[in-house]
Structures are given as structure tokens and as C-alpha cells.
Subunit: 407 residues, 2 copies
Amino acid sequence: MRIGIISTGDELLRGEIADTNAAWMASELCSRGHLVARMSVVGDDPERLEAELASTFVACDLVLVGGGLGPTDDDLTARAAACALGVQLARSPEAEVQVRAAFERLGREMNPLNLKQADLPAGCSVLDNPVGTAPGFAVDTPTGGRALFFPGVPFELTRMFGAHVDRELPADPAARHTAVLKCFGTGESDIQAALTAIAESDPGVRFAFRASFPEIRVTIAAPDPAELERALARARQVLGRAVYATTDIGLPETLGRALTAAGATVAVAESCTGGLIGHSLTEVPGSSAYFRGGVIAYDNEVKISALGVDRSTIDAHGAVSEEVASAMATGARRALGADLALATSGIAGPDGGTADKPVGLVYVAVAHPDGVACKRHVFKGYSRSRVKRASAWWAMRTALDITAERK
Amino acid sequence: MRIGIISTGDELLRGEIADTNAAWMASELCSRGHLVARMSVVGDDPERLEAELASTFVACDLVLVGGGLGPTDDDLTARAAACALGVQLARSPEAEVQVRAAFERLGREMNPLNLKQADLPAGCSVLDNPVGTAPGFAVDTPTGGRALFFPGVPFELTRMFGAHVDRELPADPAARHTAVLKCFGTGESDIQAALTAIAESDPGVRFAFRASFPEIRVTIAAPDPAELERALARARQVLGRAVYATTDIGLPETLGRALTAAGATVAVAESCTGGLIGHSLTEVPGSSAYFRGGVIAYDNEVKISALGVDRSTIDAHGAVSEEVASAMATGARRALGADLALATSGIAGPDGGTADKPVGLVYVAVAHPDGVACKRHVFKGYSRSRVKRASAWWAMRTALDITAERK
């Protein structure tokens, strides 16, 4: 099956954003056993879009299009699709109901311009958008293939993709049995190298990777359950502690499940992460059952007043030190009455580093009923944002290990 | 000038990485006044690569190709280019000198296989690669255009790009004049509706939009500075308070600059946002100069113990109330010794809503030296993640307004 992906939008041709939608769709297809044949990007230009659609209809059996379904003047995809298909653009009653319902659900007044989102190629099927206002649509192509059109907002596209695309894909015997390993703490190329040997010795097994910093998702596909089990066991062996979950969930949710299972509560004391650990934990629905809260101790005075860190400890070792990170964690555990407390203190950069304490140096501490575990990390060459993320993830990973050990 | 970008590599078609090379090149070209006409991605497949090159030679005057110049079997670009051009692939003495010199410079032993990197289409010009081992090359296309081929390693491509591409671009075309408005608090379609009248009455003016929830970036382009000024003034008038900045910066950084200008410090007291405001503020380099820290008061006991909220206030009004959000803000301002304190209390969902206090109800309060401002929001139909983001952004927006008023 030849699959083509088209992304639309002048913002892509201006290079304002990279085409992450296409990469995401390709990765999803890869994990289902399909390699995309080609991807293309066209701007908000009706003739070019129509020509790209027409040529991709010829070259591919399944065409996936992202973007240009919104209400504004530069949203041209439905019209271009109608032209490429040689049909009229017509108001779809089904799509109109969906647009009106979406505004009702979102509690927003609907500007009449938004009904443009219900003007679709005649004869298409409407694809429900559960999280936004623009429905998608699907058509038969003139060459006997299928084309599916999604909104370009990643949050909407990713929510709609699976339900609609799976129906179009042929059953793939080689990918009938799949497993997922969620990894953290090892680079993608190291993981790839580690798994190459397995793939080479067993040509029926397929690995796919997707990095969403700092997490890496590995998908394993095999033709039968026994082969999958073998590959999975070997993969877990070479990946070791990098694997934190065997289902497709993030580390914050994994920690949340472990805390729930252990009946434990957690608190945070964040310096260089600035609130990111708390934010990540509270992205998980139901986290209020185990997350008590915490202190963002950015300023040293806050470390002293809110967490009870001794001024002399800061004076003696500096705020970025094992001593202070450990005192923050134990202080937060006590002050917030939690079973575990996660603390970070480091230099996120880009400025503020010294020869002794370079940018990227972070102490991550986790206080628990029997003491405190503290580790020194140096995230060399990382951006400020990545230093924060890596620190937050190491804190959660450490807490996960401690929770598992204590069970 | 029609410009096309082709990126090669199976890793792109597997979705392991997004095509950041294309975005980077497009952005460089855009800053030089050129909008790319199309981008495409093809895999490590000789026929498909040759076909893509041939069709892009026809469609574009300048073709930029990234990837496939390395020494391994899946590096196929030079051979495919020779086929598309109808010329022989031949060892280039000039390229061979460069490959040997590159290995010498890098202090690495050269495997003879690496000389494959010097096998280029006959008649091409060799493009020097100052940082890697694979030279690039440039050719005249059969349709009278030019095509430039770069290695796919981003570090090498970005180093080689400017020197070689600038020579191919026509002397500065009629320069477009652009301005940016960063907006928050109004939907994209409402902004579009507001700007339609301006665009219609002045056909030389073009608006473009980019949404990165909950921020929207509006770009205005006009043929001359006077027209741009007029369009900008009218746009600011119709968008009103939705505009928070006239340069391309986010709201957290805008607030940071306003605080710095006012010599003011800020703290947070986050319930439903769970640390997101602190995280967002500390993504900005240098934020330690004005951000003191805060309390993530997820649990009611933390609101009482760390922020001094009266238990009776919580009992009388509930944690999600104007009274509690205001008390959290004033408590954080006092406890953290900051000039301003931002507080949130709400129901992020998906569960926990009632008829009286539905999911999406959030109170946002900002305490300042003269009192506290609190506003009730209902983010209906938003996901948990979006309720948090919208709440955090409203808190920062309110703090920005208060900082501006107090100046």
C-alpha cells in the first residue's frame, strides 16, 4: 500500500514550524507496519494545493492530508479537494450539525464564518472531530484509493487519526502482534544500536522509535506471539533500566499509578525546574489523590523560609549542591506531610555557570520515610528548557524506583 | 522565483524525526524575502528519489536538496541526481581532495569507502563542507534552473547553506514590510473576522495567523512602510486588549520584561495549574531576577498551612471560589515577599465538576500592593491540559495589565 502525506500551510513554507504532524502520522503508520512513500508540504495557494492533491491521488493508494480546514481565508483544503476530485463544494448538513455542536460544547459563540468549516466536497464522508470545531472528511480518489483530511491543529489531528485511519489500512499479519516499551535515560541512537542486533538476527521482528524528549517510545512488531515474547525479552534485557513502562504512558502517569498502588503521597520542592514537576504530575487526571503540592523555591530565601533549609548549608555548599537539594526534599516532605518529596536544584542556563558548577549541573533528590536519595547530573550542551525537562524526569524516575523498591 | 526543498531519508518517512532541515532552510529563505513553493520528503529509494528530483526540476527554479550524500549504501542522492540529469556519475578530483582533507582535518583514518562521497554527477560544481566529510554539489537543471545538494546532518547543512545559497538568489527583490502582533484571549476566527475588513479595504495588505494555544501570532505584510503603519494601527484598534506584544515573544517573557522594567518581583500560588505558571515563567532565561518562587497548593491543607488561607473561608465558600483564590494570592505575596502574586483555583477536570461548579471553572487572582484582582472564568469544553494553560495565561495576562497600570 502506497501512502502519501500532504501538509498544508504557509507557516510551514515560511519555516515557522517543522512539519511535526507528518512525522507523527508517519510514526503511527510505521508502528502499524506501513512505511510512508512520500510526504509533501504546500502553502495556502489553491492551485498548488489542487495540483499536489491530484498528483498524490495518482501516486498513492491512501492519502492523508493535514491542515487548511479552519474558518479563515487561508483555509483552502476543502475547496482544493473538491476541484481535484471534480465535484462541487457544498454545505454538508452533517458537518454543520457537528460545527454547531462543537461550539455549544466549547461554550463559545459561533461566528457565522465558522460554518465555512461545513462546506465540503460533495459526496464525502464527514469525520468527527471530538476536540475542535473543524470536522475532517474522507473521499474516494479518482484512481480508486482513499483520501482522509484532518485539521492541522496537532491536538485535534492526533485525537482523530487512529479511529479513522485504522479503518483504511489492510490487516498486516507481520504487525498483528505488537508491544510497546517506554524508555527514559538513554539516547535514541544508543537504543537503536542496542536493538539492531535483535532485528538482524530475527528478520520477522520490526522496531520503530519515536522520541518525545526526554521519553522514547519503542514499538516492537512480530508475526506471532512467541516471536514477540522472545524479541520483547531480549529488548528488555539490552535496554535494562531505561524501560519504565510496557504500555504507552508517560513517566508522570507511571509514577502516579505506582504511588496509587503503594497508597503513597508526593510533594515537590523545585528550584531549577520552576514548577515543571508539579505541572507534569498534575497533567494526569486524578492526580489530586496523591499529589499534595509543593514549593517552588527559586529564590534562596524561599528555600530557607518555606522548606526550612539552613542558611549555613547554603552558605557552605551553595544552593546548587547535594546538601541543599537533600535538605529541600526532606523539608518539603515534612512541610507538606507527604510520603515522598522530589527536589531539584541546578543551573538551567544559558547563563550562571562557572568552571566548578557548569550550566546543566543539577542535583535531584528524593526524600522518603527512610532517608533521602540524591544524585548529581550534568546535562551538557542542553538548552535551558531541556535541562529543566531532563531534571524533572530524573526526579520522577528516581521516585518511581523508590516506590517500587518499597512495595 | 519558485523554490523547492527536497529532504531524503527513510528515518523521515518512519517519523523518527521531523524534517527540521526543511523548516530551517525555509525560515532562512523567508528572512531573505523568499517564500518556498513546496517541500517534499522521499525515502532512500533510487527510483522515487530520481522521480522527485525530475519533477521538482520542472516545477522550480531553485531546488535545495538535503541528505543522502554520505558513504553508506542508503546514501543515494548523487546517483539519483545524475540519472535525473541524464549524466554520468564520476569521481570528482576536486571532491576527492576535499574528502581526503576533511579526514585529515578531523584526525580520522579514511576508509576507502568514503571516497564514494566524491562520486558526483559529471559537470557539477563542488560545494565545500567545512565541518564534515561529505562535500555538497550544485548543478544546472534541464529547465534552466539550479539545484544545490547538501548533506543531511543539520550541523553541516546549516554551516554550508548561506555561503552557497546566497549566490543563487536574485538581488533583494521588492522587500516586503512586515509586523507582528502577539494576541491572547480571543479565538483565531474572531481575530480573522476582525481583520477581514482591513484586508478587504486594502488589497496590498496580507494577514497571516499562527495559533500556539493559547497564544495567536498575527503577521501583517504590506508593500511599503506607510501602508504597513496604517494597517498596523487599524489592526491594533480592532484587536484592542487581545494584543499583548508587537514583537514575536510569548506572554511569560512579556510579563518578565514588564516586571523588570517596573523593578517588581512576582510569586505564584497555584492550585489547578499545578506549577504551570512557575514553569512557564522560568522557561525565560534570567527569570530568577524577578521570580521569587511560590507554592503549589493542590491540597487544601497546603492552602491553609503554606499560604495562611483561613479554614473557615474554605469551609464557607469551597476551595474553588473568589474568596479562596484571593486569599491564596494575598497569602503568597506576603509569604514570599513579592510585589505581585498570581493565584489559581479551579476544576481542571475531566472529573470533579458539579452543576454549580462545572469542569473548567477557574478563579484567577492577582495580589498587588493596593489589593487583589480576581476574575471568574469558565473554560467550557476544554481538556484538562487546556484548562490549565488558559488559566495560567489569564493569570499572567492580568499581572501584565496590573504591572502596566502601576507604572
